[in-house]
Amino acid sequence: MADAAPPSKSRDLDKLLLRPGNLVGPTFDPGVQLRDDLQEYAKILVVGAGGLGCELLKDLALSGFKNLEVIDMDRIEVTNLNRQFLFRLEDVGKPKAEVAAKRVMERVSGVNIVPHFCRIEDKDIDFYSDFNIIALGLDSIEARSYINAVACSFLEYDSDNNPREETMKPMVDGGTEGFKGHARVIVPGVTPCFECTIWLFPPQVKFPLCTLAETPRNAAHCIEYAHLIKWDEVRSGKAFDPDNADHMKWVYDEAVKRAELFGIPGVTYSLTQGVVKNIIPAIASTNAIISAACALETLKIASAFSKTLSNYLTYNGVEGLHTKVTEFVKDKDCLVCGPGVLIELDTTVTLQEFIDMLEGHPKLLISKASITYHGKNLYMQAPPVLEEMTRSNLNLPLYDLMDKIPKDILHAIGTINKDNKKSSGLRKLRVDFKGIDGITDMDMAGGA
């Protein structure tokens, strides 16, 4: 005879977590223990507390997770309110991460959410290693790229160059634009990482300056002329601030003048904001769809209660409804999720020489690098206190700084110069000291 289970907040989730299933992940071990472990031990980081981040926090809090953290450097704006449902008009100006965490905790009892109101680069790598899964709700390619590199930096390979499962830091990533979006699962070493499939995000095409200066044809050309050329001409020395309403009005007025001069229609204040700030249209429903898919996959990675998405889901609601799953493949030469760039060195090379070498390395092109070795700061470019503390290492041989281990992994964080664009990045380096034979190697391993 069927029995009604005693009342429980986990009424619906329990059916999936406590009962054995047929179409499940290989490690699925149903039972009360699984549910309790998810609540007690699983730690999830949500990166971004915007349209996707708000949804993700709510979805994860109602998917059996109790330990969440969220990181976001932004403050709440009025234009967020049509979709970022955790924020109210009176919250405008407050940090998104803090308000989002508070609101979800108010409504879902038992959930703990730690907010971090800062840039993702402000946290050291160790911060990120603490989480079982990282969920990304971002609208910037650079930020995705950075977190991806951080998560991939934890990945270690064994002596046969196979990725070690216990070092994999899974990510789920979502993105939306209007009625379209994607959700993907990234398991470094198993699926392609963000960088393996970077071609999915082609760089934005910019208008040639000569078009803006000489042959403007549409409203956007007039706006960009005012923003990129006229501003510097007339108000040189003063940095343009897109969040300053007076600055925006100035650009708009100049764009109108230029449009009149050339007989070009269509310059509006709203378009001026759109072009200058590169505004991506966003609505609640698409964010809800994509975040829900990401949250569901997060729960699957943590519990194996069902098969996982393999590995890229696209949604398009413009003409009818299209969802599609694509299984992308890893780039075996990926600099980010691969075993790391091999660098052969003499034992005499100093840390300073090593850092200089990275800047000229054809594959890496990483300048102003800070170097860490198993979480230990060998040299830090910033903040000044750390720089001073680590400066004396610069003249020491790297070999000594690495405790005379002949082969090991280092991390370099710095500015990556790629396609004439600079961005913060992290690279994993496999350092191999020349002239140290296998016996020493074994001795060292035995002594460690």
Partner: protein, 523 residues
């Protein structure tokens, strides 16, 4: 604060008109579990006019685990009331109210209730109620959308007699340039420009539209009136373009080569549009909608002034050009578009008069938008759900059942119906309560088999794995699944209300196992 600022990011998608339509809409939600609550949340944020939540249940402990709109303080209270008050917090511009009653009761006893709404969002209904409500809403001409979450599956489907779209806003659509069929003003403009101009700056600022009009004309003259059609001819045409370049950096010629397919495009209207103008609704009478009156005018235009073409859209894409050439070209396209619009407008007004309506009952702006979008018109029609349930297309069903990409989705489609049969016969969904799982599995299996037999799919069966999973789901409403289904449902509601973009057709079956969800067309 200006309300426009709050909606800035969505106004960039559906504009003031779309927003106005949303603000006029009244939405009725049946059942406010997580699927219904999440659907409504997205609509309230977007600023719909009013919402009415119908749910007769009280908040239980289990609801706190899957519904963000209720909290500890809601326990024992009306779910409709709690969800309503949270949603009101999200947007005070929305009129929110609730009715503490079971939707079932309204469907059975108060059918006129539904006629007051723009859209009814019916969530978590079983088959019998769906069929009844479908008939009621069809009769009352109220748009209806079903949404259901069930374990790792679920469905979304629209039921509306007819939904016509002028602004379908497709992502990619061929520009309306008439390169191989220029009207006199465009031809004249092109003729006045010399492709052999000596000045290199002038040469590289001739817009590709002009280059292609002239080159197409040259080709047609030397090929007995025919356009390049074979692969070899197309290649040859591109070579001719390349040969005209006088420097490597001539972007206008590169653009012309890339856009040469626009020359090869067939003249005349698409088969989709042909189907619309041939539709029996294009034979208009006094009961015809504005849309069909305009289609009738369009049909006349194509047969007469248009010479087989629709009114010109009138906009051109950005292209390398001197400002002067570009602005002039733009004016030529706009003038032709304006002229075409006047013809259609006159024809529409004449038709209105003929069918006994006020000739000015369709606003000018509507006719203008219709002309601009004439190539992109869409007509969506949805059959009654009971027709599909009683008489599905056997061929389609069998195709889906044997197609690897569709087999899980169609399996869920059958099982979603089968669990409702079980619930009707045994008072609970298979696996809804712990214990008796084996019995429930065999019941679900035999129900599914007999359902397939009734549909005429004798011998075809579903996998044991899928049947077992369906029992494991036990009618659970997982928050993440509900948020997904609710997101899809709200997206479709927005398209229906704004009459922009194209709503889904068929039945969307969610597959939360590997996300290979499908749209099934079974009738």
């Amino acid at each position: 604060m200006e309300p426009k600022t709050k909606y800035d990011r969505q106004l960039r998608i559906w504009g003031e008109q779309g927003q106005a339509a949303l603000e006029k809409a009244s939405i009725c939600l049946l059942n406010c579990g997580p699927t219904g609550s999440e659907t409504l949340k997205n609509l309230v944020l977007g600023g719909v006019g009013s919402i009415t939540i119908v749910d007769g249940s009280k908040v239980e402990l289990g609801d706190l685990g899957n519904n963000f709109m209720v909290d500890e303080s809601s326990l024992g209270q009306s779910k409709a009331k709690c969800v309503c008050s949270f949603l009101q917090e999200l947007n005070d511009a929305v009129k929110a109210k609730f009715i503490e009653e079971y939707p079932q009761a309204l469907i059975d006893t108060n059918t006129s209730f539904f006629s007051q709404f723009t859209v009814v969002v019916a969530t978590q209904l079983v088959e019998e109620s769906m069929v009844k409500l479908d008939r009621i809403c069809r009769q009352a001409n109220v748009m209806l959308i079903f949404a259901r979450s069930y374990g790792l599956t679920g469905l979304v489907r629209i039921s509306v007699k007819e939904h016509t779209v002028i602004e379908s806003k497709p992502d990619h659509f061929l520009d309306d340039l008439r390169l191989n069929n220029p009207w006199p003003e465009l031809r004249g403009f092109a003729e006045a420009i010399d492709l052999n101009v000596q000045d290199p700056v002038a040469h590289k600022h001739i817009p590709y539209v002009v280059i292609l009009v002239k080159m197409a004309d040259e080709w047609i003259k030397s090929h007995g009136g025919a356009l390049p059609s074979t692969r070899e001819e197309k290649r040859e045409f591109k070579e001719l373009l390349k040969a005209r370049m006088i420097a490597m950096d001539e972007d206008n010629y590169k653009e012309a080569i890339d856009a040469s397919f626009k020359v090869f495009a067939l003249r005349g209207i698409s088969s989709d549009l042909q189907r619309i103008i041939n539709d029996s609704c294009a034979e208009v009478d006094s009961s015809s909608s504005n849309f069909w009156v305009m289609v009738a005018a369009l049909k006349e235009f194509i047969a007469n002034e248009g010479g087989g073409e629709v009114p010109l859209e009138g906009s051109i894409p950005d292209m390398t050009s001197s400002t002067e050439h570009y602005v002039n070209l733009q004016k030529i396209y706009q003038a032709k578009s304006e002229a075409d619009f006047h013809v259609i407008e006159q024809r529409a007004r004449d038709i209105l008069k003929k069918i006994g309506r006020d000739p000015h009952s369709i606003p000018k702006a509507t006719i203008k938008s219709f002309c601009k979008n004439a190539r992109k018109l869409k007509v969506c029609r949805y059959h009654l759900i009971e027709d599909e349930y009683n008489n599905p297309s056997l061929a389609e069903l069998q195709k889906y059942l044997t197609d690897e990409d569709y087999s899980i989705a169609v399996g869920f489609y059958i099982l979603l119906r089968a669990v409702d049969c079980c619930a009707a016969n045994f008072n609970s969904f298979p696996g809804q309560f712990d214990g008796g799982m084996d019995e429930d599995i065999s019941r679900l299996k035999s129900t599914a088999v007999s359902l397939l037999n009734d549909l005429g799919c004798n011998g075809l069966t579903l996998t044991e794995d899928l049947i077992n999973e369906m029992c494991r789901f036990g009618a659970a409403e997982l928050h993440a699944v509900a948020a997904f289904i609710g997101g899809i449902a709200s997206q479709e509601v927005i398209k229906l209300i704004t009459k922009q973009f194209v709503p889904m057709s068929g039945t969307y079956i969610f597959n939360g196992i590997d996300h290979k969800s499908q749209l099934l067309t079974l009738y």
